[in-house]
Amino acid sequence: MKKEQLPCSSRRQFIQTMAQGATFVVAVKLLPIAGLATADDLPGGRWRPDILLSLDGTGLVTFTCHRSEMGQKVRVSLAQVIADELEADWDRIRVEQADGDARYGDQNTDGSQSVRMNFARLRQVGATVRLALETAAATIWKVPVSECLANMHVVTHTPSGKTLAYGQLAEVAASLPLPAPDQAKLKSRDQWKYIGRTVTDGDLLPIVSGRTVFGFDVNLPGMRTALIARPPVLFGSVKSFDKSAAMKVGGVEHVLELPALAPPAAFKALGGVAVVATDAWSAIKGRRALDVQWAPSVNDDYDSGEFAASLLKMTDVPGNSVRNEGDVEAALSSGNRIVSATYYVPHLAQAPMEPPCATARFEDGKVEMWVCTQSPQAVQESVSGALGIKKEAVTVHVTALGGAFGRKAKADFAVEAAILAREVGHPVKVMWTREDDIQHGYYHTVSAQRFDAALDAGGRAIAWRQRAAFPSILTTFNPAAKVPIPPELRGFIDNPFDIPNMRMEVDGAGAHVRIGWLRSVTALFFGFGAQSFACELAVAAGRDPKDYLLELIGPPRNVDLGKEVAFDNYGDPIDTHPLDTARLRNVIEIAARRAQWGRKMTPGTGLGIAACRSFSSYVATVVEVEVRKDGSLLLPAVYMAIDAGTVVNPDHVRAQCEGGAVYGLSCALAQVTARNGAVVQSNFHDYPVARINDAPKVIDVHIVESDAPPAGVGEAPVPPFAPALCNAIHAATGRRIRVLPIDRKALA
């Protein structure tokens, strides 16, 4: 039986219900703003209501997760939020993965936003459906709804003790108008059953059994596998190619040229020559046999070493002032003690364990895709642009992501698959090899920073000038863009130090590779520079680095940057997510205490500390290092304290801290360089990410109890790691590292 439900009368309507047999389905438009959508906001005025939550006659609740799963456990944490308010039995919740669909609102799983931006809304949805079920029971029993109480998948009539299970209520609930969202009462914190707790994760069993379907694992009838020889230099193009040898390889069916890439790179395909074969090995051999001559590119002269030198030079002179307090120049030239240093962080590759991969089927002018994407709507848009078809003609199924770290927010690899599927008339899987991934990525930008500080006679910092120069991510979308944009100034412009004279200047530069987001983005190099330099000041002042850092931060307060400072607070109002130095101080003190900061260290060992607010979370990291005679690093322990506001799942936060420390370590050990426009590194032998023997022996994580709104967790643990490590190396050896990657041989 299918019967369309009348919309509820409230102007603030955000939920519609529909009876589908005995299934009660609810949809909510997940706008990125706190406000709830009205019926008038819905695209085309109507929508399919089966996109978020359903309850069937057996009591099975299906939650459709609209954010991509890449190891951050969003499928669990978002389900926890909704299940809690729904008063659902956790064992009777099934999670499905949403396709790309604008009706979900923002699906781009980046910026550590999933819990932050969905917590309040999903609670409201859960509570509304709970009330709907209580109302259904009241209707059946002909009693006031106030006498009906939902608890663990059952509604009880409290005076009589009668009960009805959720499954028994589905059909009636679906036939009644849904309560207006403001009628449903949210649970109080002390009533939470799942929020704040660790719960069973149904995704673990398929993972350890090898049954999870990642992008690489998609298999369609008649599917072909393609590898692409891409121009080694960005905006290079195919001059000529000889396909005869490749076509002789058994299994190779097509060798075809892709359209050359014209600026801006955006999320378009890079161009090159594709080898389409019956299977992966044939495609690999075919590409090896391919002979391609490349036409020159405007980026042929790019040399990352020369570029680094030019960026560092830019910081010798004033840049665009983005924050100015007091009179820094006067303080820097009035006979005070001056400390200066320059810092450099190279290009990095996200290097997820699963390289980019996409599968497309083109039929009747429509594309159906299976992609390990962080952003299915970006895939829809990019594919629709490349193929000249409507966005609605692009269906994107989101697979499990074998890591992402920002790489899979870009849709270029999906565009390649869609183009090839249309060309060859079979479903096509485009596989990126590791070499493709390292050499044709969207790299973390290169950055140079110059710091100048003035210390008074007592060693107190009275002036802080920080200049940064780096190509903006915007260059990927607009090659003429020269100046970094406000979201790229986080962790810089919002420096919480209590210094009377502060000036921040920034400069941009053109890019010669595609620049993209990498886990924690610019907070990575700003955190490295500022937190290392803070330690340099402590050393110059002859003070303990932890005490000095607390002194730099100053008294507990909400930092007011003033209206003229263009601070982008990760999309949140400053009132709900203030720059709270009490919370920053607190994590520093906790991490230091757990590390037994101040304990006597043996020669060659040291402790280093760093603390950053990023993605509205506060993280302090203490690294204990042993620098061995050959310069290799042993990390006996890392101590982390995080204040991420309200925590949905503490084990997820712990895992992100552990993983963030290891990712931060990798960012300090590896680099991508370019010569003659082409990336030099190609695989894990020359892009040496952290292995188990590099990893800390122990990672101690303390999560601060907090009632504050949830903050971002996936990225915030990364920025403090490298400076804490380098501060520890300084404590152990007296050597200050200002350029990444750490040159371990030089430490010998």
């Binding site: 190891g71 673990l204 350890v208 690489f216 596998t225 299977d279 895992a655 188990i692």
Partner: protein, 154 residues
């Protein structure tokens, strides 16, 4: 002559290019996709399987090398119940994205054979597992889970 081998106890034959790495036979011919591509060069361990009980990188092992041999993949590691490592992996919530974990588990399963019932040091674990990269950074949990699986084997 076609190549004959056993995969998870089942006889299989392959008459194609003997240079093809075992990885692609497992993935493209048998559709055993639990064995992952990560680097294609024996550098990351995502493709680890057992050949006659020893851990091997299937991305760098040609089909010619497994003629007459017995291959076990993550799908065949345990029969009905889970392997003790899989249990430990779940109990300690080791996986994040999970992509490298079948390779980690296969490597660990070969490693712990000679330790089960005893103890294994972190140094032994690091030495046995350093060829398996995890970009999510689950290394500390991998160590804990291996120690646990070794102890519970006693």
């Amino acid at each position: 002559m076609p190549i004959r081998l056993r995969v998870n106890g089942k006889p299989e034959t392959f008459g194609g290019d003997a240079d093809m790495p075992l990885l692609w036979f497992l993935r493209d011919y048998l559709h055993l996709t639990g064995t992952k591509y990560g680097c294609g060069a024996g550098l990351c361990g995502a493709c680890t399987v057992h050949v006659d009980g020893a851990a091997l990188r299937s991305c760098s092992t040609p089909m010619s090398a497994v003629d007459g041999h017995s291959v076990t993949t993550i799908e065949g590691l345990a029969d009905d119940a889970l392997h003790r490592l899989q249990v430990a992996w779940i109990e300690d919530s080791v996986p994040q994205c999970g992509y490298c974990q079948p390779g980690q588990i296969m490597q660990a399963a070969a490693l712990i054979q000679r330790y089960v019932g005893g103890t294994i040091s972190d140094e032994d674990i690091d030495q046995g597992m350093f060829g398996n990269i995890c970009r999510c950074g689950t290394y500390t949990r991998i160590r804990t889970a291996i120690r646990k699986a070794v102890q519970e084997g006693s």
